[in-house]
């Protein structure tokens, strides 16, 4: 029986004093090098504008910790998720092991690395080493063999990092094996099972002397130092930056755009130079590891537009380094030299990229900042927008139909105006599509039918309502948006409106999440939420079951932006329809192509996003497609007609289906 004190290993066994000096001097040196690099990045971020991102720090830390330790978001993509999890945990445990060894060796009078503890640590570290190697091999397989599109272009650092990490792990095992062999195979070392096996192999090959150990030990040290030194100067910096980036993420719904402060006094608008990004927006650029999940999910990229969210962030990052590290002046170097207008206009602000990004990078606000520059500073807008902006300016709707006609759709429906009624429990926000789009007017009529059946006390603003401005804001015309928002808020507040019902997810998002920026605080309810409530509280009665199989297309502004996924589905099932899901549904839903103002732009490059989405729906052979957004409805309508399927496949808004079922 050996004494527990003897179940241990002597740290620095067989290491000459000179090597030890190298460990301390070199170790401190490379750590300082990494710290210096991080410090420099912090200095660069500080050149950005102020932005408040610290409220709720405790929840922020908890959220980030969950993402870091459990890989909640990374694991959503299985193979790379498991791969990264293996590397992360393998690395982390080995790092902790290294700290334990350092404490044992360097803290005076502390001695705890022996006995059961020693055995457990030995076992854990060997398992961790194996897990790490498995993870690295998975990564190498992906990069060398599988080569998915989203990882292109591959940079030299991508493989270098993997090889370096592999070298650290392998030489670690070899050092352990050589030590066990040179120490004559102490029995308890079987807990270091990988090392033990290697020791046997070394013995067979005759390489079991102390010199072998010393050699591997030295190589292991060099590899480890190289790795640490490289952290600050490669994408390895994400080990530090990305968790911090998650801590300071935007906790609001996706795509809430901030106003331009003091618009009437400001001299420049949007992103003229990179320092006009906030410190967090700059940090975002460093947090990107080029994993390409954003690109894989992006509807613009998938239909051959020049936009890849990954490349956009990388180009901005290169530009940041040009300007803020190498100090080029703005005349020589603007972001727009590297990022063509077509890239900037291609985005539908669907937030698929943001939903995917494991680093919680915020793409939409950056694109909107760049569009602001093009729209407001340069007037460099796609030709067709010229008229659409004027329409909004002159008639408060994108179609440019006379503003005096805004309430025409309601003629004969006996809907009270708020100006006549004074107050109502709910204000029905009609929206431009409800007021002017012939197809969508039917949805509004259906909604009115439901509200009347449920005896809801409601009213509309009539010609006092103006476009909510969603698309103008997202196309960068903050000035027009601001005018719409100010005027709408003034009218809404004049009547003391408390609760607003919308059918349009864009109006919903804008009124709910953005009008508070202008003093408009309302409870905003989307019609799918409201109808579910009416059905479940028994306020409306279904007189018949609808027949058929429908698929539901998630509107980005309802789903990803505001988390309303289940309400429309519950409604479909309640009215008797059977629901078939497209492969890309809920948070993975593929945009219809109309968000972010794309509704008003021609789609000249690549294939059409709405055709692609329509094909995904048609692949299910459904009897019908249900939507809950006027833009989605229009995009599907166009696509179905183009594919000659408009007769075969029904296209309905949720409200129309419910109205049909209660008739």
């Amino acid at each position: 029986m050996i004494h527990p004190q003897e179940i241990t290993r002597h740290v620095y066994w067989n290491v000459p004093p000179l090597f030890k000096i190298i460990v301390y001097v070199g170790g401190l040196g490379v750590i300082a090098l990494a710290a210096w690099a991080v410090y420099q990045r912090v200095q660069i971020w500080k050149k950005g504008k102020e932005e408040e991102r610290k409220e709720g720090l405790k929840e922020r830390l908890i959220f980030a910790a969950k993402n870091v330790f459990f890989h909640t978001r990374i694991l959503k993509d299985q193979y790379p998720g498991i791969m990264h999890l293996a590397i992360f945990w393998g690395f982390l445990v080995l790092f902790i092991g290294t700290i334990i060894v350092a404490i044992e060796a360097d803290v005076p009078f502390v001695h705890f690395y022996y006995g059961i503890f020693y055995l457990l640590v030995s076992l854990a570290l060997d398992i961790a080493g194996l897990v790490l190697i498995i993870g690295i091999c998975m990564a190498l397989y992906r990069r060398l063999k599988e080569r998915p599109d989203r990882l292109k272009p591959q940079k030299s650092e991508d493989l270098l990092i993997l090889y370096l990490l592999l070298a650290v792990a392998v030489t670690g095992f070899l050092t352990e094996g050589a030590r066990i062999a040179a120490q004559g195979f102490p029995k308890f070392e079987v807990y270091s099972f990988v090392g033990f096996i290697l020791a046997i192999l070394l013995k067979i090959t005759g390489l079991n002397g102390p010199l072998t150990h010393r050699f591997f030990w030295f190589v292991h040290m060099l590899c480890s130092f190289a790795f640490i030194a490289y952290i600050g100067y490669s994408k390895l910096i994400h080990i530090i930056v990305t968790p911090v980036n998650i801590v300071f993420r935007d906790r609001r719904p996706y795509g809430v755009i901030d106003p331009i402060p003091d618009m009437e006094e400001a001299e420049s608008f949007g992103l003229t130079k990179i320092e006009e990004f906030s410190w967090k927006q700059l940090m975002d650029l460093d947090a990107c590891m080029r994993c390409g999940r954003c690109q894989e999910a992006c509807p613009a990229y998938n239909t051959d537009k020049p936009l890849s969210p990954k490349n956009l962030i990388q180009d901005l990052k290169d530009h940041m380094n040009e300007r803020l590290v190498r100090g080029k002046n703005p005349e020589e170097c603007t972001p727009y030299q590297e990022i063509p207008d077509d890239v900037i206009w291609a985005c539908t602000t669907c937030a698929a990229c943001m939903e995917e990004c494991p680093a919680y990078i915020e793409h939409i606000d950056k694109i909107v900042e760049m569009r602001r520059y093009l729209s407001l500073m340069e007037g460099k807008i796609p030709e067709e927008l010229n008229q659409t902006f004027r329409n909004l300016e002159n008639n408060y709707n994108p179609w440019g139909v006379g503003f005096a006609n805004r309430a025409d759709w309601a003629e004969g429906l006996d809907i009270p105006l708020l100006s006549e009624k004074g107050s109502a429990d709910y204000l029905l926000w009609v929206g431009c599509a409800g007021a002017y789009d012939d197809r969508y007017k039917k949805v509004l009529r259906a909604m009115v039918e439901i509200l009347k059946a449920a005896k809801v006390d409601f009213a509309i603003l009539g010609t006092e309502e103006k476009c909510c401005g969603d698309w103008a804001r997202r196309l960068g015309n903050e000035y027009l948006f601001w005018m719409m928002a100010m005027e709408n808020v003034e009218v809404l507040n004049k009547y003391g409106v408390k609760k607003i019902l919308t059918t349009c997810p864009h109006g919903y998002h804008t009124l709910k999440n953005e009008y508070p920026q202008f003093g408009g605080e309302y409870e905003v309810i989307h019609h799918t939420q409201f109808i579910v409530r009416l059905l479940e509280e028994g306020k409306i009665f279904l007189k018949r079951d609808l027949k058929g199989t429908f698929t539901y297309h998630d509107s980005c502004y309802l789903g990803r932006h505001n988390g309303i996924y289940e309400e429309p589905r519950r409604i479909l099932q309640r009215v008797g329809l059977s629901l078939k899901e497209m492969e890309k549904n809920r948070e993975k839903a593929f945009c219809c192509g109309a968000g972010g103002g794309r509704m008003w732009l021609e789609e000249k490059i690549g294939t059409r996003i709405n055709y692609m989405r329509c094909d995904q729906a048609l692949a299910l052979n459904p009897d019908g497609i249900a939507t809950a957004c006027p833009f989605c409805l229009t995009m599907f309508d166009d696509a179905l007609k183009a594919k000659d399927k408009a007769e075969e496949v029904q296209l309905k808004d949720i409200a129309e289906l419910v109205a049909e079922a209660i008739r």
Binding site: E264, G379, N395, F403
Partner: protein
Amino acid sequence: MKVVVFCKSVPDTETRVRLKDNRLDKSEIKYILNPYDEYAVEEAVRMKEGGKAEEVIAISMGPERAKEALRSALAIGADRGILIKDDALDGSDTYVTAKVLVKALEKDGLEYGMLLFGQQAIDGDTWHVPGQVAEMLGLPQTGSIIKLEVDPDGGKAVANRMVEGGEEVHEMALPCVVTCRKGLNEPRYPSLPNIMKAKKKPIQEYSVSDLGFSAEDVGKAGALTEVLSYALPPQKEAGKKVEGEPEEVAQALLQYLKEEIKVI
């Protein structure tokens, strides 16, 4: 060379036109810069940007709201504005308008090289004023142009105008009058800094008496024409569909043309 652009504040094209007391009901109207004038402003600003004009002056006669139209011109890039505003001008016809505009140019002491107009104003649609102004000033003029080349040093301008089956090319000595239409250029969407700057650009205001007129010279009193009444165009009726065998259809159609429309 200085270029003057004549601007008019008109109801938006989508206005629901309604009549009240034999006049246009102005209660629900959004006013804009006459779209044809935008081509003129854009062309003048391009001349300035191309180094062919040193100053662009936007001029308008109208009520207070005409300032908004001038601001739109200033946002596109005109340098300053002139507004002739007076209650006495109410009811003026095109003759009075031209007379007043000419007097205002004189009063301002402008040494203009070119006068640009929109070919028509989308409200009154008379097409009168440019010709009247040219006539009163004794200047050469051409209209509805789609291309303009100006040579200030050579003292001439060459303008292309669409005519049936082709284009006419007119060469004129400066100063001259030109009216603009769609196809000449694509008016820009003004940048926000320019919209903001436009708010600070000067607009010189003149009243009728500033120009040396009395109330009898202008408005209804000074007008040569009089509007007797306004009427909305008749509502379009739904089309008629004739169905059946070819012979029957032909018969029915003939009968319809003979008896109801009485064209045969």
